[in-house]
């Protein structure tokens, strides 16, 4: 019994975060279709940034190329779900096994995630060996390659023209399930022996090596896990959009997701979840402003916020802390103590990553 209690308590952070997302999912549809759609995109972004965090956050190596896995998942998922009839006219030169494939969303998720994971495993052979910045840049090169292939392999992707006819299976509940699933997978990974070793290497590569951590191997594992997750998100996102082009998985998205992770905080799962939520509110506000200022305000505003966070709170808003009930309770008590004239030590009250 006490063992079970211990296990459940250990999952406190993803459970609390899931409850917050669940609340959003319940409330958003009542505010109209436009808000519901924004909530869906936000939930997908949570899943996406959590996937990004499983590499960038845990290894400490920021990556500029993980959206390539998203593109792979999106195209793979779309090609096996677009109705066979539609594929005949849209993509007449498709190889037979794809032309005749029409599977359900769960199967498409397995295919898209699996393909992205396979791709990640292959590129990890050379890339995981690279030191920090070189790894970031190599991943950026991978993104460019994937984009160019998607934009020019006309018989498979329709090139720069939009791929359409993708069934729109992604409801707000599918998006929620994706986000929650990603959170639990990544939390389990973070707490596992693999995650612990990867985090140790993030803190200090030399001591990690001296302590027996094979950094290349741990980064390779992390690349495959993050690749699989982001591939899955790609499938789900494509089934939300229904119509997409290679540009949907390129520089804009890369910048957006990195901004979300940096703002939320790269060193905690909580940061990877609240980052996209805050950015969703921020971009909504800025988009309203664009009716006055003209286009571009959204990106400029987001970039400025990211710079401000980097300057004033380099570890992001969560600063490496995870959301925990004990934290909330302590903060509440601290707040009452403050009102009674005692000094605040709220930061100390936050619990550390475990």
């Amino acid at each position: 019994m006490s063992y079970l209690r211990h296990r459940v308590l250990a999952l406190e952070t993803p459970i609390l975060l899931s409850l917050i997302l669940l609340l959003v999912t319940f409330v958003a549809p009542s505010a109209g279709l436009s808000i519901e759609n924004r909530a869906i995109v936000m939930l997908i972004n949570v899943a996406l940034v959590v996937g990004l965090y499983s590499f960038a956050g845990l290894s400490g190596v920021l990556t500029f190329g993980h959206m390539s896995f998203m593109g792979i998942g999106a195209y793979a998922g779309a090609l096996v779900t677009i109705p066979v009839v539609a594929k005949g006219s849209l993509l007449p030169d498709l190889p037979g096994f794809l032309a005749n494939a029409e599977v359900s969303l769960p199967i498409a998720i397995l295919i898209g995630g699996g393909l992205a994971a396979l791709f990640a495993a292959i590129i990890s052979l050379p890339i995981a060996r690279l030191p920090g910045l070189a790894l970031s840049l190599a991943m950026f090169a991978v993104l460019i390659i994937c984009y160019q292939v998607e934009a020019n392999w006309d018989s498979l992707t329709r090139g720069r023209q939009a791929l359409l006819g993708v069934p729109t299976n992604t409801t707000i509940w599918v998006a929620l399930a994706t986000a929650i699933g990603a959170m639990f997978v990544v939390f389990a990974y973070q707490q596992s022996r693999f995650g612990l070793r990867l985090r140790a290497a993030r803190e200090d590569e030399y001591s990690a090596a001296a302590t027996g951590v094979n950094i290349v191997r741990e980064r390779r594992i992390s690349l495959v896990i993050s690749g699989a997750l982001i591939g899955v998100v790609g499938v789900v996102y494509a089934q939300y959009l229904g119509v997409f082009t290679p540009n949907d998985f390129y520089l804009d998205l890369t910048f957006m997701t990195i901004a979300m992770l940096v703002i939320g905080g790269t060193r905690s799962l909580t940061g990877a979840v609240i980052g996209p939520m805050l950015v969703a509110v921020l971009t909504y506000t800025l988009q309203q402003g664009e009716t006055v200022t003209g286009p571009g305000l959204q990106q400029v505003g987001l970039a400025i916020v990211m710079v401000l966070v980097l300057v004033f709170r380099p570890s992001g808003l969560t600063n490496g802390k995870e959301l925990k009930l004990s934290t909330v309770v302590t903060r509440f008590r601290q707040g009452r103590a403050d009102r009674n004239g005692r000094s605040s030590e709220t930061d100390k009250a936050m619990t550390a990553v475990e």
Partner: protein, 245 residues
């Protein structure tokens, strides 16, 4: 060579013409403490780097028993039982004390559950229980050095190389740490190499002392022999007499 020793022969580490380590023979025997001393820039840390896989020796041989271990990467050296600490004291700052030690414990126990148990044992034996859930980056210098030693011990090494473990500690902290180090060979027969500037510490701890100067071995022997060695006194202490043990 002895089955139970970590031995290096003719180790050279040259950087663009600078001979940081130049033809050093060294043997760490199980169950003993070997002191590695010498003036600043003598090549002590470079030698430890070469023995632990952090620096590839230009020439030389390195083996444990009959097993050649030269050129293995650092994490593989940890796998064959060679652990080390760093002069600068490098901990995983955003991990807790217990997690720091658990990373090492994972090298001996596959599952986190078991690794955690062993890490807790190490924490308790070093009397770090009170700070085990603190972040390593928030520790005092003395606590941090003890945790670093604990992390190396948690690897259950057969050979442990300590690079100035007591640097920056006050006298009582240093005494405590020296006490811990003195116990290491008695538990499981680990062989220890220690770099240390404080000759009192060296004389008290070591079974044998190896003196390095300008990258070359100057002398090796028991503390008594080294104390009586005129060349060592000249090179290392500039003519002053070494303190008694």
């Amino acid at each position: 060579m002895n089955e139970d020793s970590f031995s290096a022969r003719g180790i050279c580490v040259h950087f663009d013409g600078v001979k940081a380590v130049d033809g050093v023979d060294l043997e760490i025997r199980r169950g003993e403490i070997l002191g590695l001393v010498g003036p600043n820039g003598a090549g002590k840390t470079t030698l430890v780097n070469a023995l632990t896989g952090f620096e590839k020796p230009t020439y030389g041989e390195c083996s444990i028993g009959d097993r050649d271990v030269l050129g293995k990467p650092p994490h593989a050296m940890a796998s064959v039982g060679v652990a080390r600490t760093f002069q600068a004291g490098r901990l995983f700052n955003h991990l807790t004390v217990l997690e720091n030690i658990e990373v090492a414990a994972l090298k001996r126990y596959r599952l986190r559950r078991h690794a955690e148990q062993w890490a807790i044992e190490v924490v308790e034996s070093l009397k770090l229980g009170a700070i085990r859930d603190r972040l390593a980056g928030e520790l005092s210098h003395g606590e941090a050095r003890t945790v670093e030693l604990g992390r190396a011990i948690a690897l259950k090494p057969e050979f442990l190389l300590l690079d100035e473990p007591a640097a920056g500690l006050n006298e009582s902290e240093s005494d405590r740490l020296v006490g811990v180090i003195a116990e290491i060979p008695r538990q499981g027969g680990c062989g220890v190499l220690i770099i240390e500037h404080d000759m009192k510490v060296i004389m008290r701890l070591c079974d044998r002392i190896h003196v390095l100067d300008h990258g070359k071995s100057l002398a090796e022997g028991t503390p008594e022999e080294i104390r009586g060695n005129a060349a060592v006194t000249e090179a290392y202490l500039g003519g002053t007499v070494m303190p008694d043990a």
